[in-house]
Symmetry: C2
Subunit: 251 residues, 2 copies
C-alpha cells in the first residue's frame, strides 16, 4: 500500500483572476502526471486567495475604535486587527502578538489566517483567506474532473498552530470530493483490540502530508498531487471536520 | 519533489520480546525497499508497546479509592481508570467516557493512550504506551542504521484527538534521528510574504501522513516507510514538540 505525494513544479506567481485549474493542469503535465480516479490535489491557501483577489491594500483599511484599543493590547498593527475582527466571529484567546479567533469559516486559528507582506519600501498588503474554500475546492475539482474525465478530490490547506503541541501542521480549510472524517467505529484488529481512533481526520492527515512538501523551497510549491489516499472518495464539506462549540472542551 | 510512503506488508502478530528491528528488516525486504540516507520509518505505538511487554491483565489491577470514585463519575471500568491515573501526571478534562490527561510522557491525550481488548469470553487486557518511546525509537534506529550502514529517522506514532476539530490524526509520541520542529523563521516567499508557519511540526506532519496508511486493512499495517522527508535529519527528542504548560493557553 502506497501514498505518493508530488509537489508540482513551475507554478508562476499567482495574480487575481488567474485560473488555478489551468495552471494546475500545466503543472501536472510538467510533472508527467495523468490524473487517475482517487487522486487528490492539495492547494496552499495562499494561491487560492491570490487567484480570488483576496489581497487588501492596508492603506485602505480604517480601524474601528475596537480595533484600535485591541491593537494596543496585543501589540499589533491596528489595520491588521481590524481585518482580523472583520474575518472572525469571536476572539477565543489573546496575548501580545496573537489573536486566536473563531474564523467566520468556523475553525479556530491564529490572526484569522491573515498573511502580511513586509517588503521594505513597498505598499503594505494583507492576504485574507478565500471567501468560501469549500466552493473554491469544488470549482477547481469540477474543472479538473471535466478535463480529465476522472473522479478526484481537492483540498485547500493552511498551516495551523495547535493546543498543547509546538509547531504548525497543515490542516484542511476547504475540501471537495473526499471525506473530511472517516468513521472506523466497530472495526477491531486481529488481536481483538478495538481501534482507539474511531473517527479519523483523514483529510487533515492528508493536508499535513501535503504541507510537508509546500513552501520549503525558496520558490514555494503550493500545489501537491497525492496518489494512494486510502479511503473512498465522496461528497463532503469542511463542517464535518469542525467540532461544534457546545461539544468542545477547549473553548 | 516527492514524498513516498509505503506500508510494509507481512508483519506477524507481535509478542513481548520480539525484535521489531528484525521484523522491520524482513518487511523492507518483502516490500523491495533498501534503506537510503534520509528515510524515516513510522511505527504504530501498538506494536512497540506489544514488543515491550506493555500488556496488562486487567484481573491483576486493583483500583484505588480515587479510581473507583472517578470510574463512577466518568462511567468507565475502574481498572482502566486506575491504569490511566498511574500513567498520568494530571487530569486536564473529564466527561463520561473520557479522561483527557497529561500523560507522564508529557503530552495531552485521551485515556492515557491506553488500548483495551474486548474479545468476548477471553481475558480482558489493556495495552499501555511504551515506557520511553524516544528510547524505543532510538534502539530500533540504531539497529537499522547498523544493519544498513545509512542514516535514518524513526517515529513512534499514536492517534490523538484534537481541540476544536473532529477526527483523530497521527502524532509523534517518540522520535529519533529527525527533527520534531523545524524553524523556518525569517524565510519569505517570492512575493515578500513572511511565512505564517515559522515553526513547522515536521515530525507530526509525517506522523499524520504515515498514519493514513496504518490500520485501514483488516490485518493492519503498523510500519510505514517514508522516503522524501524534506528536512535535514538531526538528533531530537519528543520534548521539542510539547508546549510547556506555562506557555499553553489551553490548559
Amino acid at each position: 500500500m502506497n501514498l505518493t505525494l508530488t509537489a508540482l513544479p513551475g507554478l508562476p506567481e499567482i495574480k487575481a483572476g488567474d485560473d488555478l485549474a489551468v495552471l494546475i493542469q500545466d503543472g501536472l503535465v510538467k510533472a508527467d502526471i495523468q490524473l487517475q480516479r482517487g487522486d487528490v490535489l492539495g492547494l496552499a491557501q495562499k494561491v487560492v486567495s491570490k487567484a480570488e483577489g483576496r489581497l487588501v491594500d492596508l492603506s485602505t483599511v480604517l480601524p474601528s475604535r475596537e480595533a484600535l484599543a485591541l491593537a494596543i493590547e496585543v501589540e499589533k498593527d491596528p489595520r491588521i486587527v481590524e481585518l482580523i475582527l472583520q474575518e472572525s466571529r469571536e476572539i477565543v484567546r489573546k496575548r501580545p502578538g496573537l489573536l486566536l479567533v473563531e474564523h467566520r469559516l468556523g475553525f479556530i486559528c491564529a490572526n484569522a489566517g491573515i498573511d502580511q507582506s513586509n517588503v521594505k519600501g513597498s505598499t503594505d498588503w494583507a492576504l485574507l483567506l478565500p471567501l468560501d474554500p469549500d466552493g473554491s475546492a469544488e470549482r477547481i475539482r469540477t474543472k479538473l474532473e471535466n478535463a480529465s474525465g476522472t473522479q478526484i478530490g481537492v483540498l485547500v490547506i493552511d498551516s495551523h498552530g495547535r493546543a498543547w503541541r509546538n509547531g504548525t501542521v497543515g490542516v484542511t480549510i476547504g475540501l471537495s470530493g473526499l471525506p473530511g472524517v472517516v468513521d472506523l467505529r466497530g472495526r477491531a484488529d486481529r488481536q481483538g483490540y478495538t481501534l482507539k481512533a474511531t473517527d479519523v481526520g483523514a483529510a487533515d492527515e492528508l493536508a499535513a502530508a501535503a504541507s510537508l512538501l509546500m513552501g520549503q523551497a525558496a520558490e514555494g510549491t503550493p500545489v501537491v498531487h497525492a496518489r494512494g489516499f486510502p479511503y473512498r472518495l465522496r461528497e463532503a464539506a469542511l463542517d464535518e471536520l469542525l467540532r461544534p462549540k457546545d461539544q468542545d472542551l477547549f473553548r
